[in-house]
C-alpha cells in the first residue's frame, strides 16, 4: 500500500484512464492481487459470521447484513467492501491512498453497488464523530505507527452493542519465514517491502489494546494456507495470519 500525495480535487480524464487500468489488474483474480482474491472469501465469511452472531442474524440470508453501518479501514480497491455491501451492509470504505479510492469507486459503479468511499483516515473519521455498528481493520494494524492508539480510535467509532474486527500478522519466527521470505521473496505474491516484520502484532498485544479501548474479545481464529489445495481456510493456528473480534458492551 502506498500513500499517494496527489490529492487534486479535480481528476482529469487521463487520470481516470489510469485508475481504470489499475482497477482492472487489481480486480483480476489471476492478476497481481491473486493472493488477496484467494484469501478474501475466508475473511468475508468470518466477518459475516461474527456480525451475524453479534446482531442475531441468519448467515444463510443473502441480505444478512441489511441495516448495519460498517466501516472498512484501509479498504484498498474495495475487495472486502463490495461483498459486504452486497450482503446489505451500509458500507463506508476509507483509505489514505487516492489511487485506491478512485479504483474502488470505479469498480463499485461497475458492480452497481452504492458504497461511500472516502479518501481519509481513521483519525479524521473519528474526529468528525462518525459511528458504526462494525469497524473493520483488516490487514492494517501491522502498518500503523502506534497500535494501541489506532485501536482506541477504531473502538471509539463503534456504537454500544457493536463490534470491531481486526486481521493482522503475528510476530513469530514462522510469520517471518512465511509472510516475509515466503510471500514476498519466494512466491512473489506481494511486492518486496510490503511488510515490516517488527511491526507485526501478537494476539496478546492486540487483545490488550482492545481491552484497554473498552472492548471485550469475543472470537479469534487463525487463517491458514493449504499449499496442496491452493486454498485458504480457518484454523486454530494463529502463528502467522489471524483475526480477532471484540464486542463493545451495550
Amino acid at each position: 500500500m502506498s500513500i499517494d500525495l496527489n490529492r487534486a480535487s479535480t481528476v482529469d480524464q487521463a487520470e481516470i484512464a489510469r485508475f481504470s487500468a489499475i482497477a482492472e489488474t487489481w480486480w483480476d483474480p489471476r492478476g497481481k492481487m491473486a493472493a488477496l482474491h484467494k484469501f478474501n472469501p475466508v475473511r468475508v465469511g468470518w466477518v459475516r459470521d461474527q456480525a451475524c452472531r453479534r446482531f442475531g442474524r441468519d448467515t444463510k440470508r443473502i441480505d444478512t447484513l441489511a441495516g448495519l453501518r460498517i466501516l472498512d479501514i484501509g479498504c484498498g480497491g474495495g475487495i472486502l467492501s463490495e461483498p459486504l455491501a452486497r450482503l446489505g451492509a451500509e458500507m463506508v470504505g476509507a483509505d489514505p491512498a487516492t489511487t485506491n479510492i478512485e479504483v474502488a469507486k470505479l469498480h463499485a459503479e461497475k458492480s452497481g453497488l452504492a458504497i461511500d468511499y472516502r479518501n481519509t483516515t481513521a483519525e479524521d473519521l473519528a474526529e468528525a464523530g462518525e459511528k458504526f455498528d462494525v469497524v473493520l481493520a483488516m490487514e492494517v494494524v501491522e502498518h500503523v505507527a502506534d497500535v494501541p492508539l489506532f485501536v482506541s480510535i477504531c473502538a471509539g467509532m463503534v456504537k454500544p452493542g457493536g463490534l470491531m474486527i481486526a486481521a493482522t500478522l503475528n510476530r513469530t519466527l514462522k510469520s517471518f519465514a512465511m509472510a516475509i521470505v515466503g510471500a514476498e521473496y519466494v512466491l512473489r505474491w506481494l511486492p518486496i517491502g510490503t511488510h515490516q516484520w517488527d511491526k507485526f502484532v501478537t494476539p496478546a498485544e492486540l487483545e490488550t489494546a482492545m481491552s484497554e479501548a473498552g472492548l471485550v474479545v469475543s472470537a479469534e481464529s487463525g487463517v491458514l494456507y493449504n499449499p496442496l489445495a491452493d486454498r485458504w481456510g480457518l484454523g486454530r493456528d494463529m502463528d502467522v495470519n489471524y483475526m480477532m473480534a471484540a464486542d463493545k458492551p451495550d
Binding site: 483474480p29 468475508v44 465469511g45 444463510k60 440470508r61 443473502i62 450482503l87 461497475k110
Partner: protein
C-alpha cells in the same frame, strides 16, 4: 426496457429446472431466477424413462420434487447382469446387485421422463421461477453483467447465464467452446413394453455382442428398454412393422415375464461421447448435456446432469451468501474444477465399459466374465460399484447427500 434477473438459465430440462428450484429455495424471494425454453410451452411428450440414482433421489427430496414423483417411481430392488450371445439358450448370470446404499434406501429408481419433467415444472412455478417459453438467440458479457437476448421479448440482464440447452448447445457454440468426443456408430433403441408377470423390481442387463440390452422395471408391470445396436441395424429394427419388431424384441427379452406388448413409441438415439473443452466462459456456465454426453451404458446421463445442477447451485449459494460476484471468474472456476474431473471419470468409465462389452471377441468375453465373476464374489468391490452407481462417491454436493443447501 431491459429486465433484470440474478441467474438466467437457457434450457428447461432436468438439470436447468432443478438448478432453478434449488437456487430459489436456498436464496429466497429476493434472488431472481429465469428459465427460458420453448419446450416449456406445452406438456412434455418424452417417451423415455430414466434411472434415478440414490443420491439424485435425495436431491429431488431436498428440492421438494420427489413427493410428486414417488407414486410413479419403481424401486430397483436388484440388478442382474448377463453376458451372452443372442442364440445362447441359457444366459449365465455373472453379477447380481441387491443394492442398498443405506438401510432401507435402494440404489436406484426408474421414473418416466415426462413424469419427472412435469413435477419439476410444477415445483419451479410454485417457487416463482420466471418461465419464458422462447429460445435464447444470443448474449453479451460485459463488465459485471451478461445481457441475454430471447427470441421473443425484451433483453434480460443477469449476473450469470447458464447454458442448459442440450447436446447441441447453441450458447456453447456462441461462447466458442469446442467439444471433444466421438460417435460410437451405435444407437439406442428406446421403448416401453408391458408384460404379463410381475418384474419384482428386478433390472436386467444383457451384454449382447452388439451392445447392452437393458430391461428396466417401471410401475404397473411395464419395463423401459434401452437396446443398443449398430446404427443401421437400430434404424432397420425401429422401422420394422409391429410384428417384425415384436419378434426381434422377444428374441432378446425372453419370455421370463410372460407375454410382451410394446406400448410406447419407439425411437433410436445415436450414441456418442462429447465433453466440452471448458465448462465455463465469461459469465457463462455449461450444465448437463451442454457440458457432456456420456454413453447410457451405466444409466448416468441424467444423474450427471443433476450432479452438475447440485454442484452449481452449491457454488452459487455459497458465493451469494458471502456477497461475492456469483458470475465472477473465481466462482465459475470452482464449479469447473469440481465438475470436470467427475465428468471425465464417468465419461471414460462408460466409454471403457462400452468398448469392453460391445464386442463379440471370445478373448474379451473371457476377460470380462472373469472380471464380473470376481466382482460378484468380492463384497467390497461390489459395494464400491453400488456407491458409484448411486452417485455417492467423490466430492458429493450437499444436495446429493440429502442435506439442505
Amino acid at each position: 426496457m431491459t429486465a433484470r434477473t440474478d441467474v438466467f438459465i437457457a434450457g428447461g430440462g432436468f438439470a436447468g429446472l432443478a438448478l432453478a428450484i434449488a437456487l430459489r429455495r436456498a436464496l429466497g424471494p429476493s434472488f431472481a431466477v429465469t428459465v427460458a425454453d420453448p419446450a416449456l410451452a406445452a406438456p412434455r411428450t418424452d417417451a423415455r424413462a430414466s434411472a434415478i440414482a440414490a443420491a439424485t433421489r435425495r436431491m429431488l427430496e431436498q428440492i421438494d420434487v420427489w413427493p410428486a414423483v414417488a407414486g410413479e417411481a419403481q424401486e430397483i430392488v436388484d440388478m442382474v447382469v448377463t453376458d451372452s450371445r443372442l442364440d445362447d439358450a441359457v444366459r449365465p448370470t455373472f453379477l447380481t446387485f441387491a443394492g442398498e446404499v443405506a438401510p432401507g434406501e435402494t440404489f436406484a429408481w426408474m421414473v418416466e421422463n415426462a413424469v419427472l419433467l412435469a413435477a419439476l415444472r410444477e415445483r419451479a412455478e410454485a417457487e416463482a421461477v420466471t418461465i419464458l417459453t422462447t429460445p435464447v438467440t444470443g448474449y453479451e458479457a460485459a463488465g459485471g453483467t451478461v445481457t441475454v437476448t430471447p427470441e421473443a421479448g425484451a433483453p434480460v440482464a443477469a449476473r450469470l447465464l447458464v447454458a442448459a440447452d442440450g447436446v447441441r448447445s447453441r450458447l456453447r457454440d456462441l461462447a466458442g467452446i469446442a467439444t471433444v468426443g466421438w460417435e460410437y456408430g451405435q444407437s439406442a433403441i428406446v421403448t416401453t413394453v408391458a408384460h404379463e408377470r410381475e418384474h419384482g423390481g428386478r433390472a436386467v442387463e444383457h451384454f449382447l455382442p452388439a451392445g447392452p440390452f437393458a430391461i428396466l422395471p417401471l410401475v404397473r408391470n411395464r419395463a423401459s428398454l434401452v437396446w443398443v445396436e449398430k446404427t443401421p441395424e437400430a434404424q432397420r429394427i425401429v422401422g420394422l412393422p409391429d410384428d417384425g419388431f415384436h419378434e426381434e424384441l422377444e428374441k432378446r427379452f425372453g419370455l421370463h415375464l410372460g407375454a410382451l406388448e410394446a406400448v410406447g413409441p419407439r425411437q433410436a438415439y445415436p450414441l456418442g461421447l462429447t465433453v466440452a473443452r471448458a465448462f465455463v466462459a465469461e459469465r457463462l456456465a455449461l450444465l448437463g448435456d451442454a457440458a457432456h454426453r456420456v454413453h447410457p451404458i451405466a444409466g448416468q446421463g441424467l444423474n450427471l446432469g443433476l450432479r452438475d445442477a447440485a454442484a452449481l447451485a452449491e457454488t452459487i449459494a455459497d458465493a451469494a451468501r458471502l456477497g461475492l460476484d456469483i458470475g465472477g471468474p473465481d466462482v465459475l472456476e470452482r464449479y469447473q474444477r469440481w465438475r470436470r474431473f467427475d465428468t471425465l471419470t464417468m465419461g471414460l468409465a462408460t466409454d471403457g465399459l462400452n468398448r469392453l462389452f460391445s464386442n463379440g471377441s471370445d478373448v474379451l468375453r473371457l476377460v470380462r466374465d472373469l472380471g464380473l465373476g470376481m466382482v460378484d464374489r468380492t463384497p467390497l468391490l461390489k459395494k464400491v460399484f453400488i456407491r458409484e452407481a448411486a452417485g455417492l462417491s467423490g466430492a458429493v454436493p450437499r444436495l446429493l447427500r440429502g442435506e439442505e443447501l
